[in-house]
């Protein structure tokens, strides 16, 4: 049978879809003329789900992207992941170094640009010390890039001002895991979705922000209709379409809900004393040891009837969800920015963990407490490799002398030579820039001129005449480019190789598929070159490529509980990702941590089944965390709550998705969602112009009126560089994680005249 090339492509498309759901595809498997020359394995460039992709290359160009059937996503991709091709070939690509001269970025040679950057950093350090320089990185950078940049600054320049945009999205999840379990990162994996009989989804619009995981949740519900899905969100999002119970609540009051659920669980004897009696310690908010009886007393303030007054959730509903949570055969909690981007983000994380520890809904297939990640390598790169200002690689802390000494030995440095003082976390770092204390900053793969809260304040900081900013950036229209003194041109996504680590501790390799355009270079090569020019000891950066760095990073993690020694580059080339801990090359990776027989770091002869080895006493902590409100609640003048977030196909600051015509046409600009009852009172209809005014700034958006937001709440997506909603958000931070409260601030809403 002869088929045309177009028919062949259609068959390939149908075949890939069938493969994704495990159906036979023999009829479509025949190789034809339309087939790419080769398929190269990679990981999607967008969210923290970390979907495996296969990049189809023909004639040296990427022509096709499809899901990797062997990775956790089983061949599925969301539309934005499948549309990566237009991003690679966007006309806005920066293809050579640029230096700002007379206010304009002008082409320069690599030598000229790198020498200028090196001289500015050396000058700042010579005149003002190592605290006057900084690195600001990204959860989208490769693991090798983050590890290397952190090493160059912390070991080479003795500067701990190394932070990154995960501070804006995941820092509270880190704080929650570390304070409850002693170590960062979830103990479960995506496989738990297939075994859970109750999903407790709070502060996450999984459907739009992690669509491939939403598919898996929906598939679980379809396969087992008795599965209960509870969605806690003040908006009626697409995620609520599959919910058995949707709980809307007064924004910022969910700590009271979580404590109240704990109250009900204990009051109705649905807790699991055998579990929490053996494996948990109780602590008050200052970290002083307490007893279970003390905990019961603490919870007296959160009887459902009392919590109803705080949260607006009927007491009956609180009791019902507590019962479902505790009594399901396996409950999986999932959360994201609605919990993390809060001034009580760490506490909210602790309270979710509390419910699992109290009920023993943990450490079994389907029973787990699982933080969803926003970026593709916030976990593997920044969190694991130590790309934050208080951290060293593999969970080590700068403030801990023993940890510093370990790293000095591993990095071949003299003992006690690392700087013992933690650096500045993101908001403090940009405050220091504003005050003129940071003289030179290197920014890699992130767009702070759009993504920081109260962004006018920090755009002003970045615009200072006496500062020097070097940006390693793919696209010339990224907002931060306008503040850069030098822009370096990096290879993008599958134009170089490197590792991403997603939400489930899975490390997977993005292989090089094509050559980068123009003079673009892999960022690891840029960083090594720059380090040498800045005077960093060449012995600290003896790398030819990312693979060399990966091998060092494996050795650095090996003596720790992050041990992934067995995840060699060679295995990553063959397999579609592996989950750490993975201590040897014959180890298959770990699905469930802290459980004997599952986690290779729990000795096989350990006397008990569970062992929270990150804590000195081996016990996880049930914390007493009282309800505390938000930093800036509504009042008589600013009477609404403003919240921000994502929409399905635009991603982050849209520097990538904005290059895709299909997506751009669908989501061309930001809008404000407003409840229909509020809209009626204010005389607003869909399409009207609405002014939002906070204590920081005011802007006008087009209205979308409906029932998505509860009364008193408005929502604006943050992808649009022309309507920078972060001009209105607040820079208040969580006292533990230093993560800003993007999710809540007070806003005045009024109808505006059409322009």
């Amino acid at each position: 049978m002869e088929i045309t090339r177009r028919e062949f492509l259609k068959m390939s498309a149908a075949g890939a879809a069938l493969m994704a759901i495990g159906c036979p595809v023999a009829a479509w498997a025949a190789k034809g003329e339309g087939e790419p020359d080769r398929w190269v394995k990679g990981v999607c460039r967008y969210c923290g789900t970390g979907c495996g992709v296969m990049v189809g290359v023909k004639g040296g160009k990427v022509v096709t992207v499809k899901g990797d059937p062997k990775n956790h996503n089983a061949g599925f991709l969301c539309l934005k992941g499948a549309l990566m091709t237009s991003v690679i070939y966007a006309k806005e690509r920066i293809t050579q170094p640029l230096i700002r001269k007379n206010g304009k970025l002008t082409p320069a040679s690599w030598d000229e640009a790198l020498n200028l950057v090196a001289s500015k950093f050396k000058e700042a350090i010579a005149q003002h010390g190592p605290k006057s320089v900084a690195y600001y990185g990204s959860g989208q950078a490769l693991t090798e890039e983050t590890y290397l940049a952190s090493k160059i600054f912390k070991a080479g320049l003795k500067c701990n001002n190394v932070d990154g945009n995960p501070r804006l999205c995941m820092a509270s999840a880190v704080g929650g895991y570390v304070t409850t379990f002693g170590k960062d990162e979830p103990m479960g994996s995506y496989d738990d979705i297939d075994n859970a009989s109750c999903f407790f989804i709070i502060g996450s619009n999984t459907s739009e922000c992690h669509p491939i995981l939403f598919r898996r949740i929906a598939a679980r519900k379809e396969a087992n209709p008795a599965t209960k899905i509870i969605v806690v969100d003040p908006r009626v999002t697409n995620t609520t379409r599959i919910a058995d119970i949707h709980i809307s609540f007064i924004p910022g009051t969910d700590l009271a809900l979580l404590n109240s659920m704990a109250y009900v669980i204990i009051k109705e004897e649905m807790d699991n004393p055998r579990f929490h009696g053996a494996y948990c310690a109780f602590m008050d908010k200052e970290g002083k040891p307490q007893t279970f009886e003390d905990y019961k007393k603490f919870l007296e303030d959160y009887a459902p009837e009392k919590a109803e007054k705080i949260t607006g959730i009927p007491a009956k509903t609180i009791k019902e969800v507590a019962k479902i949570f505790a009594q399901s055969s396996a409950t999986m909690s999932m959360w994201c920015m609605g919990i993390n981007q809060r001034i009580q983000g760490v506490w909210a994380n602790n309270l979710i963990h509390n419910l699992h520890l109290l009920t023993g809904q943990i450490g079994r297939p389907g029973a787990t407490t699982f933080s969803l990640t926003g970026q593709p390598n916030a976990c593997g790169g920044v969190r694991d490799a130590g790309g934050l200002s208080h951290m060293l690689p593999a969970g080590r802390l700068i403030a801990n002398k023993e940890h510093r000494n370990q790293m000095e030995k591993l990095w071949g440095l003299p003992e006690d030579s690392l700087n013992p003082e933690p650096g500045l976390p993101t908001i403090a770092l940009f405050e220091a820039l504003k005050e003129g204390k940071i003289k030179a900053m290197l920014i890699l793969c992130t767009n702070p001129a759009q993504s920081l809260p109260d962004v006018n304040r920090y755009r002003e900081a970045m615009a200072r005449k006496d500062k020097f900013i070097c940006l390693i950036e793919v696209f010339q229209d990224a907002e931060t480019v306008q503040f850069a003194d030098v822009v370096l041109a990096p290879a993008f996504w599958c134009e170089r190789d490197g590792v991403y680590g997603c939400s489930e501790r899975r490390y997977a390799l993005i292989e090089k598929a094509i050559e980068p355009p123009g003079q673009c270079r892999p960022s690891v090569n840029i960083l090594v070159d720059l380090a040498k020019r800045m005077g960093v000891d060449p012995k600290l950066v003896p790398y030819n490529n990312a693979a060399d760095i990966w091998d060092e990073w494996r050795a650095v993690a090996k003596p720790t509980v992050y041990n992934f020694w067995g995840i060699t580059r060679e295995r990553l080339r063959k397999e579609s990702g592996l989950k750490w801990p993975c201590p040897s090359e014959d180890h298959p990776g770990t699905n469930i941590r802290y459980v004997r027989g599952e986690d290779p770091l729990v000795p096989p002869d350990h006397p008990t089944k569970y062992f929270f080895y990150g804590r000195p006493d081996g016990k996880a902590v049930i914390w007493f965390r009282p309800y505390v409100g938000c930093a800036e609640g509504p009042d008589s003048e600013y009477s609404f709550v403003l919240t921000t977030g994502r929409v399905l196909d635009q991603w982050h600051t849209s520097t990538m998705t904005g290059k895709v015509p299909e997506i751009q046409r669908s989501y061309p600009k930001a809008f404000v969602e407003i409840n229909d009852k509020d809209a009626k009172k204010l005389g607003i209809q869909t399409g009207d112009h609405v002014q939002l005014e906070t204590r920081r700034d005011k802007m006008v958006f087009e209205a979308r009126v409906g029932e998505v937001c509860r009364p008193g709440l408005v929502f604006v997506p943050w992808f649009d560089p022309k309507l920078l909603i972060n001009k209105l958000t607040i820079n208040a931070v969580d006292p533990i994680s230093k993560q800003p409260e993007f999710k809540i601030c007070a806003v005045k809403v009024s109808k505006a005249a059409k322009a």
Binding site: R5, R6, L9, K10, S12, A13, A14, G15, A16, A17, L18, M19, A20, I21, G22, C23, G34, G56, K58, G59, K61, V63, T64, V65, K66, G67, G75, F76, L77, C78, L79, G81, A82, L83, T85, S86, Y89, S207, P211, I212, F214, R215, A218, A219, E222, N238, R241, I242, D649, P661, E662, I663, R665, S666
Partner: protein
């Protein structure tokens, strides 16, 4: 023209109705109901309209969501040999 392999997910009882509605859309070819959850669909749309096609599918009654398993835009790239 872009060609996309899509999986349209719907509740078990809604599947036949959703499939019938999909067949009415001119840009789509359907490839049956599978695993009691999915309808395999191939969308063939002029450049820039694929997203609208997916949106239209998502708005159909009974559709939970749509996933992409394959997408090719090779016609739109200069210098790619046929």
């Amino acid at each position: 023209m872009a060609i996309a392999g899509l999986l349209v997910q719907a509740g078990k009882e809604d599947l036949p109705g959703v499939e019938a509605r999909l067949k009415e859309l001119p840009e789509l070819s359907t490839y049956g109901i599978h695993k009691e959850q999915y309808i395999v669909v191939v969308a063939e749309a002029p450049s820039g309209q694929l997203e609208q096609v997916v949106e239209r599918i998502n708005r159909l009654p009974g559709v939970l969501t749509t996933y992409t398993a394959y997408l090719t835009v090779e016609d739109e790239l200069p210098g790619v040999p046929d």
